[in-house]
Each structure stands twice: as structure tokens, then as C-alpha cells.
Amino acid sequence: MADMASPKAFAYAPAPESRAVVDIAPSYGLFIDGEFTEATGGKVFKTISPSTEEVLSEVAQGSAEDVDRAVKAARKAFVKWSALPGAERAKYLFRIARIIQERSRELAVLETLDNGKPIKETRDADLPLVAAHFFYYAGWADKLDHAGYGANPRPLGVAGQVIPWNFPLLMLAWKIAPALATGNTVVLKPAETTPLSALFFADICRQAGLPKGVVNIVTGDGSTGAALVAHEDVNKVAFTGSTAVGKAIARTVAGTDKKLTLELGGKGANIVFDDAPIDQAVEGIVQGIFFNQGQVCCAGSRLLVQESIQDELMDALKRRLSTLRLGDPLDKNTDIGAINSAEQLARITELADSGEAEGAERWAPACELPSSGFWFAPTLFTGVTQAHRIAREEIFGPVLSVLTFRTPGEAVAKANNSQYGLSAGIWTEKGSRMLAVASKLRAGVVWANTFNKFDPTSPFGGFKESGFGREGGRHGLEAYLDV
């Protein structure tokens, strides 16, 4: 038996998931018309693992010309793809969903390497949701007549889709599954810092025998995305990302007949009433702001706690945060992984510092950060008011701003007092209060006694500067239909 000399500490030995299940090529081209091709001009950029800064691969920097090639391929493929009976399109989507399930271990490790999030999350949240999304929309493909848009609703054409780095494969699924189910073809631009899972998805499309040109993946930076949304032969633009970029895209497509959906930032309020199930509320707060290092657009980044239970709740929350395990994202026991990029880390750091400078009280559990890579300790601020930057601006990191309220009316007023309106949470054991408050919150999704729970059957989207249009559920079909 192993050394039993220190019987007091139940320390968890390292339990790393094997990297051997994923084979990352040294370089990747663009996936256009069913083939991997080099970028015109041959420019490439590196993608690194944010937890170690190790270079994972080199990826092609798509130019405006490459975008044009991809859109042309998608346009050509659209003719046959949109003419297929829905049941035939469904077969491809079901096949893709099954392949994702079969390759889920590989994809989870890949996503963890490229994004920095813990394997626990890619394995138990991202990948199951990705497969579920394809299964769900596969089911719609032959039932569009019954979706509530009249008989035989038509697809839009070529969809230009730009997705963020926080859930690379899941956001791809949210975009591609409904687009293909409704008969559109797509050109997708993954985020600059997390291109790999989209390129592996391209391989899955080939494996599934998807006709050439139906899905095209063009990697690159912001300029590639800008070229895609500005392309004159794109009929539909779907974007998930920051509000600033979303506004720029809205300006670009203004005056064209492109259909647009935007899923942007958020500053979700998580409201805890004095009759809440406290232990589960603590879990929900943790899940709300520390899931994916808080890099979640619908994160519960503002905790609104009823003043009468503030001390009790803060004690419980701090005790819980002290048990979070930060470190190697591939370790199966890691709760908090790496921040996605140096740039994002700098932004989180700057905003957190502003919280301190503006007089809020900062607290973080004792926690050693790895020496390489991009890391930020789970942090909470108490004594935050509506006037503080950390109460208004999206931090997109593991930083929780704690505010208090006295009455349900004040809770609603503070929760709604935000330029955003993506998500909110309510914690109470009283059903009538739950329903009354939920109906007054201006947020696209309101969770009750839970947080950050996703399901493909449920529509998701924002109010105000959090964007417009809905993804998921029956509502998600509308964004890709000419209705």
C-alpha cells in the first residue's frame, strides 16, 4: 500500500485525462467545399493551450478571398441541400450527432486543451449538449410544416455564422444544427483563440458524408469575421459574442436584406431571497459565476441577496469557494480551469482592480495559481453598489459582485437596472414569489432555484443590449426560415 504516514489529509492524487485520445495535426487549412485548403496568401496563426501556453497547432488565417470562396461553395451546395426532403437532411444530422457521441472523449480533451476549461465541464456539459442539439434539430428537419410558420417554410440561403471562444463546439452546434435542419448552408468562423474543435467538426462532416459545401469552416481573426458578415451573398448573419462587435455587425448589415440574430453580453442577476434553500443557492451561485471560469454570457455575475441573510450567505459562500479546485484543466478533479487568453485575463484583472479602486471589498480563497498560462482566482466583491463598474460592465471572468436588497420590488428594480438582459436567477421556496418576480424580470432566461442549466428544447436569447433573436427550441427555427 502507499504511504499512510499522513492519515489526516484526504488529498486527491492527480487524475489527468489522457491526451492520447486526441491527435492534433501541426497545421490546419480552411474547410471549404468539403476539402481542407490553404488560405490564399498562405498566412497562418498559432493556437495555444491557455493553461500552459503550449502551441497546439497552426491554423490558416482566412482572407476576404477565402470567405468569398467559402460563400460560393455554400451557395452552390444550397441548391441541392435545400431541395432535399427534410427526412433526408435529418439523416445527416442524426449521423453527425452519433459521431459526436462516439468521439466525445476525444472532442472533450481537444476542447479542454484549446479553451482551458476543465475536462469535467467539457465531458459532462459541453459535449452532451452538443450532441443533444444535433439530435434535437435533426428531429425538426422533417416537421417544419408543423413548426407554426405555415406549410413548407423556406430556408434563407447561405448563413454566415461567427462564434465565440467560451463554448467553441457548443456554440457551433447552436448555429449549425438549426441552419442545416431548415435547409440552409453555412460558412462558420470560429473564434481566433479556439479554432480546433470546429476543424475537427469539419472532419465529422466528412465522416458523416455530408454533401460538399453544406458546411464550410473559415478560421481567422476579427477581419475574417467582418468579411463574412459583410459578404453580399450571405442571406443570414448569426453572431454570438461581445456587445461591441454585435453593434458593429448590426451597422454592417443595416440596409441589406440579411436576416440577423445577435447573442451578446450579459450581467445576469442572481436573486436570493431570505426563504431560499440556502445550501442549494450557494451551489447555484457557484455554478452561476464560476462555471467555465465565469466566461459565460449568461453568467450570474451580480448576486442580489436579501440584506437579512447577507452575512449567513456570505459565510456559506466563502466556505464553499475555499473548496474549489483550481489547476490543470485535464485533471478530472479540477473545478476551475484557465482563462482563455492573455487578453481576456488582462480585461478581468483591470475590471477587478476597478472594483477595489471604487471601494468594493475584494475576497478570494487562498489558492495557488500555476506559474504559466492564464489564471484568475475565483473572486467575490461585497459592498458593491449599482454605481460600481463591476456591477454594470460584463467582466466575463470568475468575479462575483454582491449587492443587497430589502424587498422583492427593490430586487426586481436592481436586477432590471442594466443595459443587458440575458439571464436571471431566483432563489426562494415560495412558488408564488418565484412566478411573480420572474414575470417582472427583463431577461431572456430566468432560472428558478437553479442556474446555467441548458437544454436544446428551450429557447435562449436576450433583451436590450444582450441581443435579439432566439436560439434553441422551436423558436430557434425562425432565425433560419424565410418567415
Binding site: 500500500m1 502507499a2 484526504f10 488529498a11 492524487a13 442549494q280
Partner: protein, 329 residues
């Protein structure tokens, strides 16, 4: 004999709060008000948290540590109508020397038997530090008059029981007679005095809701339980990760409020090393290392021990031995 440990806050505060809690049990209505004022339990959230802790990956050195810890926390149990002195002696021998091929294997915490087998167990365990625990109070149904339950307890202690595992009156609890439940536990506790530690079994499978389990936990702790225990092992639902997590939260909160530490014993249905390790993870991440020894955490189990022994042999030899390489009892 609950052990008073320094509370996280001020000791004087804790003493004051303990005194206030005496008022809580002054009448049926004050007790009811207190119990129904405890925070509710969201079942979905509780079960999700328990399941999430169940995904911890415990390997190599930490697995070795957990296996030995789990063995040392077992109340090795036989509670059958067919129990005989021979069976109890065999069980006692196994508790003292779980793996005859490896004397570094820890002993179990206790053997757990019916009151009439206590003397036999006590004799078989003489000279060892393995405790004798006895179920009492008309186990498992608890359907007897209080004098009978007290006599049952007295007999077990007189025969040498170090620990008493009593059952609460679930009928009284479900009928809302919380003070009756409290007073019965307090009476058994008085009978135990400083001679035996008292484990209070709620039969969580019969209480059915998590809110009830939290309330029962507080009744037990207020009445002086040294341990709170999930189940008799005689009903359909026994120890689960979720109900044990909830009871761990209760003892954590009770200590924070009063400074008094209470142990937890899940019992029934824990058969594999994998399960046992999940429970230890619950302890580790809910109440921490102060509960990670057999003074404060126990497993009520019988077949669990052999699975732990087989896993222990696997760790030291690198291969599975199989059931013929551990002893039946």
C-alpha cells in the same frame, strides 16, 4: 457525550446560542416553529450536488488512503433473526483482522449487533479497540412503548455495548409530534449517560422528503445525539449520497451554531469501494477533515468490507484476487 469543540465564532456566543436552543424545545409549538424555520431543501439541487461530487476521480495514493479510512469507519453489522453466537464471533474476528494475509489492514470501528448478542460480541472483542454497537429501542420499527425501549437500551449497555443505535418514532414524526420524538431521544440519551455514545437512526426512506430529513437531524442533535444515522438497512431506500450530504450539512450547521460536533453514519446499501469513496468525498468537501475519522463518521455495512479488501489487495498486488481471497463471515 457530544464533544464540544471550539466554534468558528466566539465561544461565549456559542454558549449563548446553545442556551437559546433550550427554549426551542420548551414546547411542541416552539419546536415546530424552529424546525419549519430551517432553510428548505431543493431536491434537484441537493441531488445534483451529490452527483457532482460523485464524479471525483480518486486514484493511486488517495485511493489507498480512502480504502483504509473506509475500513476503519465500518460498523460491521449483522442484524438478522438468524444471528447466533457463532455468527457474531466470526464477525468479531473479522472486525479485528479483516484480511488475515495482511496485518497492516486497519480494524473496523465496531461490530453492530442486536442487544442479546452484545455480551457475545464484547467477549469476542475483549482486549481490542473495536467497539460493540447495539441497535436498541425495538429496532427496526421502533413500535414499542418507551419503557420497553429504555429497557432494551439498558440491557444492551449492561451487556457492555459501547454504542447504542436507536431508531426514532417515525410515526410520531410524520404525525407532527416532534416533541415526542425529541423527548424519546433525550430519554434514551439519558439512559446512555456517559457509558455509551448514541446514534440516532431516522429511517430516511420512511421520512421521505429532504425537508423532513433536515428537521429530523436537528431534533436528533438538539436531543443530544452523538451520531445521526440514515437508516436501519431494513427498508427500500437506505443511505444515499444525497441524504448523507444533507445530514453532513446539518452537523456542519449545528457545530457552527453551538460548537458541538455530531457524527454521521450512512447505513444500508453501501456495498462497493466506489460507493464508499463517494461518501468520503462528500465528507471531505462538506465538513472537511475534522470529520474524517471513525469518531465522527461511520459506515453501517456488511458486504462493503470484502469489496474494500479486494480493492486493497488490487492496489498492493496490481491484480484482482477475487472473492475466495477474502474471508466470508
Amino acid at each position: 457525550m457530544p464533544t464540544t469543540v471550539p466554534a468558528p465564532g466566539n465561544d461565549a456566543d456559542a454558549a449563548g446560542r446553545l442556551k437559546e436552543l433550550a427554549d426551542v424545545t420548551a414546547s411542541d409549538s416552539t419546536l415546530r416553529r424552529f424546525l419549519h424555520g430551517l432553510p428548505g431543501v431543493d431536491a434537484v439541487g441537493l441531488e445534483a450536488r451529490a452527483a457532482s461530487l460523485g464524479t471525483r476521480s480518486i486514484k493511486t495514493t488517495s485511493k489507498a488512503y480512502a480504502i483504509d479510512l473506509a475500513i476503519s469507519m465500518i460498523d460491521l453489522t449483522t442484524l438478522e433473526g438468524a444471528d447466533t453466537p457463532g455468527k457474531v464471533r466470526a464477525l468479531a474476528a473479522k472486525a479485528v483482522l479483516p484480511d488475515p494475509t495482511d496485518r497492516t489492514t486497519p480494524r473496523t470501528a465496531a461490530v453492530c449487533v442486536y442487544p442479546d448478542m452484545v455480551a457475545t460480541a464484547k467477549a469476542a472483542l475483549a482486549g481490542t479497540d473495536v467497539k460493540v454497537a447495539s441497535v436498541a429501542t425495538a429496532f427496526p420499527a421502533g413500535r414499542a412503548a418507551l419503557p420497553v425501549k429504555l429497557a432494551d437500551t439498558r440491557d444492551a449497555i449492561a451487556a457492555g455495548a459501547d454504542e447504542i443505535d436507536m431508531v426514532i418514532d417515525r410515526g410520531a414524526f410524520l404525525a407532527g409530534r416532534y416533541l415526542d420524538v425529541f423527548e424519546e431521544i433525550a430519554a434514551v440519551k439519558a439512559e446512555c449517560g456517559d457509558k455509551a455514545r448514541l446514534k440516532v437512526i431516522f429511517e430516511t426512506g420512511e421520512l421521505s422528503t429532504y425537508d423532513n430529513i433536515r428537521r429530523a437531524s436537528w431534533i436528533g442533535m438538539l436531543a443530544g445525539a452523538d451520531f445521526i444515522k440514515t437508516s436501519t438497512g431494513k427498508v427500500a431506500v437506505n443511505a444515499t449520497p444525497a441524504n448523507t450530504l444533507l445530514m453532513l450539512e446539518a452537523v456542519r450547521d449545528f457545530r457552527a451554531l453551538t460548537g458541538v460536533q455530531v457524527g454521521v453514519k450512512p447505513a444500508g446499501g453501501i456495498r462497493t469501494t466506489k460507493d464508499a469513496i463517494k461518501f468520503l468525498v462528500l465528507v471531505n468537501e462538506t465538513v472537511g477533515e475534522e470529520w474524517l475519522d471513525n469518531t465522527w463518521f461511520r459506515f453501517g455495512a456488511s458486504s462493503l468490507l470484502n469489496d474494500l479488501l479486494m480493492q486493497r489487495q488490487k492496489l498492493s498486488t496490481g491484480r484482482y484476487s477475487g472473492p475466495d481471497y477474502v474471508t466470508v463471515d
